[in-house]
Each structure stands twice: as C-alpha cells, then as structure tokens.
Amino acid sequence: MIEEFSLTEEPKAPDLSHCTAATRNACKLCTPLGACLVFRGIEGAIPFLHGSQGCSTYIRRYLISHFREPMDIAASNFNEDSAVFGGAKNLHAGLKNVSRQYKPALIGVATTCLSETIGEDMAALLLDCRRAIPDLPPVVHVSTASYRGSHIDGFHDAVTALIDQLVLPPDPHGGVNLLPGMLSTADLRHLRELVEAFGLPVTMLPDYSDTLDGPTWMDYEALPEGGTSVEAIRRMSGARATLEFGDTLRFTRRTAATNLAERFGVVRENLGTPIGLRATEAMIQALERISGRPCPPAITAERGRLLDSMVDAHKVVFGKRAVVYGEADLVIGLTSFLCEIGVEPVLCASGGKSEHFPTALRVAVPELPSTCMVRDNMDFADIDALGKELKPDVLIGNSKGYGMARALDIPLVHAGFPIHDRLGGQRVLHVGYRGAQQFYDQIVNTFLARKQEKSTVGYSYL
C-alpha cells in the first residue's frame, strides 16, 4: 500500500529566527504585481511588463489563483541580447503585437528589475515606439524595480503614474475621485455604492471590481468589460475632492492625491481604509461634508445592525489575542476594528518596508495597547517566531499565514490578498458597516466553531 511510502510524522520545522540575512517565506510580493493589478482596473487596458517572460507568467498565476479570472499580462520577453544591448527591439515588437491582438484602449507598461538594472530610458523608448507604431493606443509607464519596495508600492506608483501621465487641465464637473488602495472586488463595489448614495458621481482608480470578478462570457473577451475609463481619468482634475484611503499615505510626501492637489488644486481628503466603525464613520462624515447631504437612512441602519451584533457577541471575542499581518494600511484598518470589538492585537506586522506604519497605526488606533508589537519589513519566519512567544488565539490575514496557524493550532481568519486556499477570496468584504458586519460574524463564528469542535461533550445551542 502506498501509505507505507507516505508521511507518517511531520518533522519538526527548523528554527529560522536567527537566519536574518535571507528573507524567509516573504510576507510581500514584487512591485510589478501591484502595477499589473492597477492596470487591470482600467477600462480596456492591458498590463505589459518590460522584462523577462517569467515575471508576467508568475504574476498571472498568482493573481488568477486569488481572483479566479483570466489575467492576461503581456511582456517584452527579454533574451540575452536585450539584456546586454537593451530591450528596445522587444518593446517595439511587443507593443505592436499586443496592440494588434488585444486592441487595447491603454497599455500599462511596468518595468521589472531586469529592465531597471540595465537602465532602460522608458520615456525615450516609448517615444520611439509611438513614432514607429502609427495606431499605438495611449501608453502609461511606471517604474517598478522589484528591488525597490513591494507590491503595494507598485500599486500606488501605478495609480500616480496614470494620474501624472493622463490627466488633462481641469474642467470642473462636481464629481469626486476615489483612490481606494488595494482592496477586494467586493470592497470596490461597495465603496462605489456608498459614494453614489450621497449623490456624488465618482471616478474610482483603479476599479477592477468587474474586470476581475465578472460573469461568464458568450464569446472570449480579450479584455473584460469594466474598469475606470481613460476618459474619466483624464477628467480627474475637475473633481471636487480626492478621497484617498490609507493612513500611511498621510505621512507620505508624494501620492496620487497630492499630485492632483498640487497640479490642479483638487482637495485631498486622506482617510484611513474604512474598516470598522470609526474609520467608516470618518468616511461617511467626509461624504456628508463633500456632498452637503446627510447620510442616507439605509446606511445608518447598517451601522445600527453592526452595533447591535457587536453587543450580542461581545463576550465571544473579548480579550482574544490576535496577530494581524499584510499590507500596512489594511493592517491598520483591521487593527482599528479589532480594538473596537475588544480583541487584543498582540502583533501588527507589515511585510513591506513602511517607515510610517507604526506612527500611522498609533495615530489611527490610539487605544492600541503599548505592549502590542508593531513591525514593518517582516517575513513569515519573523511573524512565526514572535507568534510562538505571544501565544495568539487567532491569526488575521492572507492565506500565506496558513502554515503558522497550523503549527500553532489556532484559526486563521482570511482577509486581504492573496487568498489561495479558499474560493471567493476576491469577494471578502472588508469595508463599510456591511464589511465590518461580515468580518465580525466571521471572527465570532470562528471562535464559536473552534470551541464547539474542541468540546468533549459537544452542544447544539449556545
């Protein structure tokens, strides 16, 4: 029988805590991934990587496994010659081919560590391509060397590049711009619904809520429907205000919102990612202020139901110790909500380097116990090592914490990106009262299920 060949006892995992020279089981991805995700959120756009073929294939595979949707990313497919003499020829051929085959409304070109290391002058190269390829659609390029920053930096830099390279002089239209950050497709849909409930036309950048979470097709859609239109991006200069989510961005000198503010005087409203009661309230107040309208009763009712459920289950979660990890701004949002419901975060970890993360977190969540560790630039070996000491009751974050949850025998509540070990990861709703409600129910029921499973006698009512 094959059982005699297979694993009988799981070996003890090595202690990696002292191996600090290497990154061990990274809690981050590379910058071009963030840029590709953003470009996928532009109507009719195709992401294009200037570099090796593998970068595009790996990023496609990674995103497809989360979103479970097609995710085409073209590449200039460097070879030895391009690595030595530059990738101009491949860039030219690649842009030409992708234009013919996909007929895109925009090509979003992101560099890779390869093209960055050899010092490609993208502006000049793209100008040459524009001259040589008559029907080339608009091209936006962003510098995404993967040795500088992580996927979340690539994400924000791509948003900034789109605004920087596409926006035209202002033609005031009274709408608002919304820069949501890296959220789920369900989040993006809900945010649009919330802003529109205040009667505000909104340009959300990016918006992959349809392109990465759409219906099945009658014919193959080379580029799926949906996304922010290039035309809408061009008109972002005429908006009343830009809502920009992300506490750490408040401390960042240059963002896409500051770009619009400095160039066109569009008011920048920086807010925390609206996860939980307070952050959602802050967003609602901003929308009331901008629109001059009171909060619609349906939204107030959702807030009421959330509070009611928080009362019902407060004892289930109170005092539970949580480790939260992921992108800095997502972690801040989740931590804020956890503190509102009486869960005690013991470690808040961001995988990328984010110098403003600890400050931004302490400002956003002033009641966070001083004993809670707040660290950036963490990998899963770091989180693992601290996790063992801190004895958490629950992990909250993406599916890459699974190994740690298994080793510690504690539950993992899925949030953020990527969620590779469950279906529907792209539809996890984090934001708004509704998102808080769903997230809350999930945490509560995780604890209840755990207690029930571990019960020696079992029970069928609470």
Partner: protein, 458 residues
C-alpha cells in the same frame, strides 16, 4: 470578441497546425514572440520546478523577492519526510545590493540557513539580475561548500537566458553534480531510477508500490519525494525510466553516456501507458518472474477499476476535449487516456514540445485536430470555441479561459491535489473528467445553455 476575429500573430502562424491541412511541420523550440501572452514562464521557473521536490535540500533564490515569493510552496510535490523544500528563501536583493553586489548577503544567508536547517545539499538559483550585477555565485557556492561540508550547487537560471527548457537543462546539470558521489553497494541488479516524476499528490508512491510488488528496486526518484543521498547513488541503478521527457531527457542521456545506464521514455498516465511502462521496465531484466509478476499486477489493478471506468465511458462517449500542458509527453498520454474514456481530443498543445513530440502528436491525433506550440490565451480560447469543446485539461493559467466560456476544466498541472498516475490515478482522472463535464452548472451558463437550445432546435 467572436472567435473568428481573434488573430494569430504573424510570428506564430507556423506554430499552429491542423492535422490534414497546410504545412507539413510545426515550428517549435522558438523564443516566445514579444507581446504574445505566452503561458510559458522563464528559465528560472524551469529549474525551480524540477529541483523543488528535493525535500532535504536547501533552495535559496538569489535575487529580488518576486522569484522566491511566487514559488513558495506552489507544487503539490509531497515528501514522506523532510519538508524543507516547502520554504521560500531569498536574498531579497535591495537597491544597494544591486549597486554594490549581493555576494556577501548570499554568503551570509547560506551560512545561517545551513546552520539552522542542516540540509544535505543547497541549490542556489541565479535570477535575471544576478549575472547583470556581476555576482560570482559559483565562487560563493565553492566557499560555503568547503566551510559547511555539503554540496552547495549554483543553478544557472537567469530568467532571460533562454526558455523554460533551458531551465530544465540547468536543473539537470545541477543534479548531475550530485550524481556519482554516493555509495552504490547493495543496489539490486533489478533496479531503476524514476526521472521526471515529481510526486504530485503522492503519485511517486503509487509507482514505487507497483515496482516493489514486481520486485524492482527504485534507487532514486528525481525529483519527487527526492533525497540528496538517493540522487548521489542513482548511478548504481540499471535502468532509467523517464517520464517528463522535456525536463529529464538531458539527464538520462548524460547517465547513459557516462555510466552506460539505458533509459526508456514512459508515462504513468492512463491505463495503456501505465501498463506499457511496467511491462517495459520488467522486460529489461530478463527475469521471467518479474515479468509474470508484472502481468499479475496489471491484471489485478485493471480488475479493480474497469467496472467503474466502463460506467464513465458510457456517459462520456463522444465528448470533445482540449489539452494544453507544459510538456508534450503528458499530452500523448492524455490523448490516449481520453480516448479510453470514449472522448476525442480536438485541440492539443504544449509549452515546450520538440519536433519529435509534435510528429508523434500528429500521428496520434484524429484529422482536423488543432496542434499548437507555445500558445496564448486568445488562441486557446479561439480554438476551444471553434471546436466547441466540452473539457479543457491544463493548469491554473488555462482554467479561467475554460470557465469563462462555460467549459469543464481538469487540472493536470503541478498544483493538483488528486493523484492521476497509475491505475487508481486513471480512475481518479475519470471521476474528475466526469465531474468536470457532467455538472449541471453548465446548463445555466449562458453560452452552453444557448448551445444546448440550438442543438435541440436543430
């Protein structure tokens, strides 16, 4: 867009072939056209997938974080013991490393990780920028190897330096450095190595069980459930069975040239191929007892699965399938396996097939079958629609193409969790094909529902 409007890129026209029409030969082994959304990855990927299952080795990726992050615990390649291979270690090069070099960081990473993990060997993968910034990875490996007393082997895998196939070759070269360094005493005269078998979902164990039952010793499997010490002594085996021929023929040839070990191309997918693989190996040793045990085994195993297979065949008869896989060897087996289920393959292709592979595919397939080399999502969608297939067999990147068009999909790639090799694997495969094709959900998916209505109207 309607499938007729999907254009085949000019550079790619000779990589698309219809049996019974047009050009005699299909072009292959080419670099992917720039701008074509190839389903291939890179040289690094080729090396990484082949070496990944060696479970007691340390695998360190020397480069920026992406290459390591995307290959963390991605294969369902099981180990019966150490789980070291399931970690992702990277030097995570930063801008200052790119400017000043990353050798010191690599050396420090290796020293610390070897001390903590006590691996039997270490593989150091170079990536796109390792060579560009002038790091002497070979020198670092030599130094650390001397210090630590274990083989520290550089893997020449910068992403741009060829195709995925060149990565396979680099992996074979890395493995070859281990071979011949172990003690071969005590190896049976009836012994084999399994090459190009990766123990996805425990498939190696199925094969090892068969060979044990017929009295053949498996010295080493490269690389499924792989162990460094087994690889070191694999030159003591009398025969090499090469499954994933795309990745491992190079190693088999070297073992043949330098140690005189003959090799056979085999496949454990499908009944016919599994039986042929077992008989082929059993016949080599000239021992009638082994041959008779092989016959008994095949008979026993077939008896177990055939009644159920017949039931599936009845239901699946006449359904049409598309296949797009990494290596062509798997495509042959799948065409035959589907045929044994009564199904027809109308589109078949691979990322890395060679001219002989495509010749063989042409012979195997029915007239009108479309054969593609290094295809892309648009082409695959075009032909799936044109041929109106019921099933697509491929990997993660092909899955959404099928699902978006309301086509059943069966994962035959390295992430799968179901064992599909051997006789029991064939039954699992039939079950999965059945679940993929016969689910009632297709009745509600608009394109398929329309198709059904049209058929009924006709």
């Amino acid at each position: 867009m309607p499938h007729d409007d999907i254009e085949i890129l000019e550079e790619r026209r000779n990589q698309v072939f219809r049996k019974g029409e047009g050009a005699a030969e299909i072009a292959c082994g080419k670099r992917s056209a720039a701008g074509s959304v190839s389903q291939r990855a890179c040289v690094f990927c080729g090396s990484r997938v082949v070496l990944y299952p060696i479970a007691d080795a340390l695998h360190v990726v020397h480069g920026p974080i992406g290459c390591a992050a995307y290959t963390w615990d991605i294969r369902g390649a099981h180990s019966s013991g150490p789980q070291l291979h399931r970690n992702s270690f990277s030097t995570d090069l930063q801008e200052k490393d790119v400017i000043f070099g990353g050798e010191k960081k690599l050396a420090a990473a290796l020293r610390e990780l070897i001390a903590a993990c006590s691996p039997k060997a270490a593989f150091v993968y170079s990536t796109c920028i390792t060579g560009l910034i002038g790091d002497d990875v070979d020198a670092v490996c030599k130094t650390i190897s001397k210090e630590a007393g274990i083989p520290v082997i550089p893997v020449e895998s910068p992403g741009f330096s060829g195709t995925k196939k060149d990565g396979y070759r680099a992996a074979c070269e890395a493995i070859y450095k281990l071979i011949g360094t172990g003690d071969i005493s005590g190896i049976s005269p009836h012994s084999i190595n399994l090459l190009g078998e990766f123990n996805i979902a425990g498939e190696t164990w199925i094969m090892k069980d068969y060979f044990r039952r017929i009295g053949i010793q498996v010295v080493s499997c490269i690389s499924g459930d792989g162990r460094v010490d087994e690889i070191r002594r694999c030159h003591g085996a009398k025969l090499n069975l090469v499954q994933c021929s795309g990745s491992m023929t190079h190693l088999a040839k070297r073992l043949n040239d330098e140690y005189g070990i003959p090799f056979q191309r085999i496949s454990f997918f499908g009944i016919e191929d599994t039986a042929a693989a077992i008989y082929g190996a059993a016949g080599v040793f000239g021992d009638p007892e082994i041959e008779s045990r092989a016959r008994d085994l095949v008979k026993q195993e077939l008896l177990k699965i055939q009644p159920e297979l017949r039931r599936y065949r009845k239901i699946l008869k006449g359904k049409k399938a598309a296949i797009y896989v990494g290596g062509a060897f798997k495509a042959f087996s799948l065409v035959r396996a589907l045929r044994s289920l009564g199904m027809r393959t109308v589109l078949v292709g691979s990322q890395t097939g060679n001219p002989q592979d495509y010749e063989q595919l042409k012979e195997l397939c029915d007239p009108g079958t479309v054969i593609v080399d290094d295809s892309n999502p648009l082409e695959l969608a075009k032909f799936c629609l044109e041929k109106d297939v019921d099933l697509f067999i491929g990997g993660v990147k092909e899955r959404p193409i099928a699902y978006k068009l309301g086509i059943g999909f069966c994962d035959h790639n390295h992430e799968r969790k179901e064992a599909l090799a051997g006789f029991e694997g064939m039954l699992n495969f039939a079950k999965e094909v059945h679940a993929s094709v016969m689910s009632p959900v297709w009745n509600y998916v608009p394109r398929r529902a329309n198709r059904k209505q049209e058929r009924m109207a006709a």
